[in-house]
């Protein structure tokens, strides 16, 4: 699961800027609630992405509330491409192994 939260967050932020709670709801929606993490752990992921220059944060006052919105940077888009390729490669390999176990076990 390493890199999955980063991948999902970057993918979602490519569409529009969002704040933490919106991101969590969007992750739940797009993954069909397949990924169940404590919602609070999204913030270290976002802060680390900001620290590494993949996203930018800006504070906005909305209806008397202070929201921190995140938007993806050019560096973040590059990182997303890299993570997506990596994920496709890994998931393709796992799917292949699950779909054709005979390739390994059948010859054994």
């Amino acid at each position: 699961m390493s890199g999955v939260p980063e991948l999902l967050v970057l993918r979602l932020l490519c569409n529009r800027e969002m704040y933490g709670y919106e991101i969590v709801k969007a992750v739940r929606l797009v993954t069909g609630e397949a990924i169940g993490l404590g919602e609070g752990v999204i913030y270290p992921v976002l802060h680390w992405l900001e620290e590494s220059g993949a996203v930018k944060a800006k504070r906005k006052a909305v209806n008397g509330r202070e929201r921190v919105y995140y938007l993806v940077t050019t560096k973040g888009k590059k990182r997303l491409r890299h993570l997506s390729d990596e994920w496709q490669r890994v998931s393709g390999g796992v799917n292949s192994a699950l779909g054709d176990p005979g390739g390994v076990t059948g010859n054994a």
Binding site: Y19, G20, G40, V41, P44, V45, H47, E51, E66
Partner: protein, 142 residues
């Protein structure tokens, strides 16, 4: 979210060497997130107590959040990430400050030092003038 829970998380992050800017941001965003969760739960028809419980549960345990923050070395203070560099910088600063402190003191207290120098100069001029007027006959002749 109860204040005490925030305080405990804050202390754990401070002890872990997390940069204060990220601690403040984490606490602010968690508080906002908690409010959103609670409001959604209330809108869904839960009682205030049930909504608070559901919000805390959804947010995750304090230990889980702290562990997630501490697992990212990039969020820690640079002196915690690079202790040897920090040690060298601190030592160099201390060595530089020892001889620099009197100079800094003088710069900081320029007006007082200028007044003191002017007073000394005025006194020296006055005494010099008296001595010259007396033709250095400062002792009563025997």
């Amino acid at each position: 979210m109860p204040e005490s829970r925030f305080e405990a998380l804050k202390l754990e992050l401070l002890e872990g060497g997390v940069a204060p800017v990220y601690i403040a941001r984490t606490l602010l965003e968690l508080a906002e997130h908690y409010t959103d969760l609670e409001q959604d739960a209330l809108a869904a028809g839960l009682s205030r107590e049930e909504a608070a419980r559901a919000a805390i549960e959804a947010l995750g345990s304090e230990r889980q959040i702290a562990a997630a923050v501490l697992a990212r070395p990039g969020l820690r203070e640079w002196s915690v990430r690079y202790p040897r560099v920090a040690h060298c910088v601190r030592s160099a600063t201390t060595i530089g400050l020892i001889p620099g402190m009197p100079v800094m003191f003088c710069i900081e207290h320029r007006p007082e030092l200028a007044r003191w120098a002017a007073a000394v100069m005025a006194a020296a001029t006055f005494i010099g003038a008296i001595l010259t007027w007396l033709d250095w006959m400062i002792f009563v002749p025997a």
